[in-house]
Amino acid sequence: MNKLLLSILLSISVSGTVMAGDLIHIKGNTQGRSNHEFIYQDGCQTCHQGSGKKNATDKACVECHGDINSIPVDESKLAIPAANPHKSLHFNKGASCLACHAEHKKQAPVCAECHRTWFKEM
């Protein structure tokens, strides 16, 4: 699955206009992430168990991306080395993906509640 993910990421970054993870129009009023376009072809069920009205959980994220500690973060962009959100001094493994990442809208990560200048909406 990770290989598939990598090839999708590569094909998107080569195409140039949209960056992987950008918020794009999917259908109707729904926006989603460009690297997840292929997921929407199967409807909502990949992430929302049973129905789009039910909240998604981390399970769908982790299946493709791996768990929080294993997903690399571009360390050159961190405010300070200790500010790595995937190895957070406050939460480490105890953070849900959803604490920082939103699929259908832009959202500031939970860290920004206190560290206002360190992180942007994404």
């Binding site: 039910k54 909240n55 959980t57 405010a79 300070i80 200790a82 957070s88 001094l89 406050h90 939460f91 480490n92 493994k93 105890g94 953070a95 849900s96 959803l98 604490a99 939970v110 920004a112 509640e113 206190c114 560290h115 206002r116 200048t117 360190w118």
Partner: protein
């Protein structure tokens, strides 16, 4: 016939499905309807801060059976994960290595009694202080790292006994307790919001929970019922983020005050416990720090930065460019003076505090404050006046006057002790200040063994326990710094022992 512990009668209202599900209310074991338990656990712990994580680990290690931790937010750790990582331990190894041999649990309690101003619970403080070394060992054996050789005297303590975690955050403790618990088979759930307790008379037998809840929207997620075979431990923390409750219990607490706490410190579970008869005490005793900054979230860097500013610098009103208080007075005096700074529409006119930059340019307290833009470097008083819209002539006059007072080592305006004050020459480090609400001394009344007390009978509610900031009456008027972490960790140990004893007593 069904075992009534598996199927319990509910009110009609709570059983009417979707409408009732969006309106969390009191469930009474009275009329029609039945509870279908979706899950069960031997011990259910509400909240995942220091108290909840310690209780979970100790319950597991006391062999109390399955342990389920319910956290409503999207992260484990509650407010503890963003706390400053200070922990008071009398007779800790670093303290002993420093040659301080005259500290003891009783010495700590003596300080807390003074700070509690007669409202504290001496016996409860003793229970906690006497188990301090157990709390320390709990940390060490789960891999928590403290700063080497670091043990200092902090406000209100008569001895150097405050250690600090490696990175200066409670997260150093919560992450380790959590990861140890996962390894030992504890089940932790995020996004599980307690809607109500399920009571069988004077005994709690389970909880009604909104699963997949997204704070703060009560319409999210769906309702499930979880049976608690042996105990429910309330470790849900304080309510400093609950503006309506804050205003209800202490009308003098200004609504413009921000809060140092994580957003989830809203106290609904405490209110639910009260609805079922649990006795609240000291709810109006809410601790405020005058050292907050409006330019950062949480506790932030401001307190540490002001440890320079209050001594080496000066606090100035942006309204008139004048000093307005003894910068070194206690937090209550300063809070009141700061909050008088208002524009005509009553909105806060955040005062500024500034001190000489160059001497402290490399001090970490300054470096990080400037880096994170909660403080700024300005080269002159004109620049300072322009940046914060302060009358420049008045500002200059005030600083010249202050500098004269520094030279005279006497402050005729506010009688500040001037031994640490410095002549202000610029460039300056400047930050804005406004108090922040910090801690709730009030909460649920418990006995010394963490059993929640029913206010009607003044007897414990069977199988219901409460620990940590969710409880009240322990610290009295003011909690000393570095003692909350101690209380939470310790009472997590105590509550597990109490549950074990109660189970054995019941057999």
């Amino acid at each position: 016939m069904q075992d009534r512990r598996n199927f319990l009668k509910l009110t009609a209202g709570a059983a009417v499905g979707s409408l009732a599900a969006t309106l969390p209310g009191t469930v009474q074991a009275k009329t029609c309807g039945e509870i279908h338990w979706d899950e069960n656990a031997d011990v259910i712990i509400v909240g995942s801060g220091f108290a909840g994580l310690s209780a979970a680990l100790n319950a597991k290690r006391q062999n109390l059976g399955s342990v389920l931790v319910l956290e409503k937010m999207l992260v484990i750790g509650g407010n503890s994960a963003v706390n400053g990582g200070w922990l008071a331990i009398p007779k800790n190894p670093i303290q002993l290595a420093q040659g301080i041999n005259d500290d003891s649990p009783e010495e700590l309690v003596k300080d807390q009694i003074k700070s509690g101003r007669g409202m504290q619970n001496d016996a409860a403080l003793r229970v906690i202080a006497n188990r301090a070394l157990d709390a320390y060992h709990l940390c060490i054996n789960t891999g928590v790292k403290f700063r080497e050789g670091f043990n200092i005297q902090v406000g209100g303590h008569n001895k150097a006994r405050a250690m600090r975690t490696q990175h200066g955050t409670g997260g150093d403790i919560t992450t380790k307790l959590y990861e140890a618990g996962v390894k030992e088979g504890i089940d932790y759930r995020l996004q599980h919001y307690i809607e109500d307790f399920i009571m069988d008379g004077q005994k709690i037998i389970g909880v009604k929970v909104r699963k997949n809840y997204r704070f703060p929207d009560l319409t999210t997620g769906s309702t499930i019922f979880i049976k608690a075979n042996k105990a429910v431990v309330l470790a849900n923390g304080g309510f400093a983020r609950n503006m309506a409750l804050r205003a209800a219990v202490d009308p003098s607490l200004d609504p413009t005050l921000d809060c140092t706490n994580a957003l989830g410190a809203t106290g609904e579970v405490t209110l639910t416990a009260m609805a079922h008869g649990a006795l609240p005490v000291h709810m109006n005793l809410i601790q405020t720090g005058h050292w907050g900054s409006p330019d950062e979230g949480g506790f932030g860097w401001s307190n540490a930065l002001l440890s320079i500013g209050w001594h080496r610098g000066v606090a100035i009103s942006v309204l008139n460019g004048k000093r307005f208080m003894d910068e070194r007075a206690d937090r209550k005096t300063c809070s009141e003076a700061i909050m008088k700074n208002r524009y005509a529409d009553n909105s806060p006119a955040y005062p500024v505090v500034f001190f000489n930059h160059d001497k402290y340019a490399k001090d970490d307290r300054v470096v990080r404050a400037l880096r994170d833009k909660m403080a700024w470097k300005v080269d002159s008083l004109d620049e300072l006046a322009a940046k914060f819209n302060i009358p420049a002539a008045e500002l200059k006059r005030s600083v010249a006057e202050f500098n004269q007072h520094v030279k005279n080592r006497k402050d005729p305006l506010f009688n500040r002790k001037m031994d640490t004050a410095e002549v202000l020459t610029g460039p300056f480090v400047v930050s804005r200040i406004w108090p922040k609400v910090h801690y709730c001394m009030g909460g649920l009344k418990t006995d010394l063994d963490a059993r929640a007390i029913d206010g009607r009978s003044m007897a414990p509610i069977q199988n219901l326990y409460a620990i940590g900031e969710a409880t009240g009456g322990i610290h009295g008027e003011a909690r000393l710094s570095s003692t909350s972490c101690l209380e939470c960790l310790t009472m997590g140990i105590v509550v597990a022992e109490t549950i074990k004893a109660d189970i054995q007593g019941a057999v």
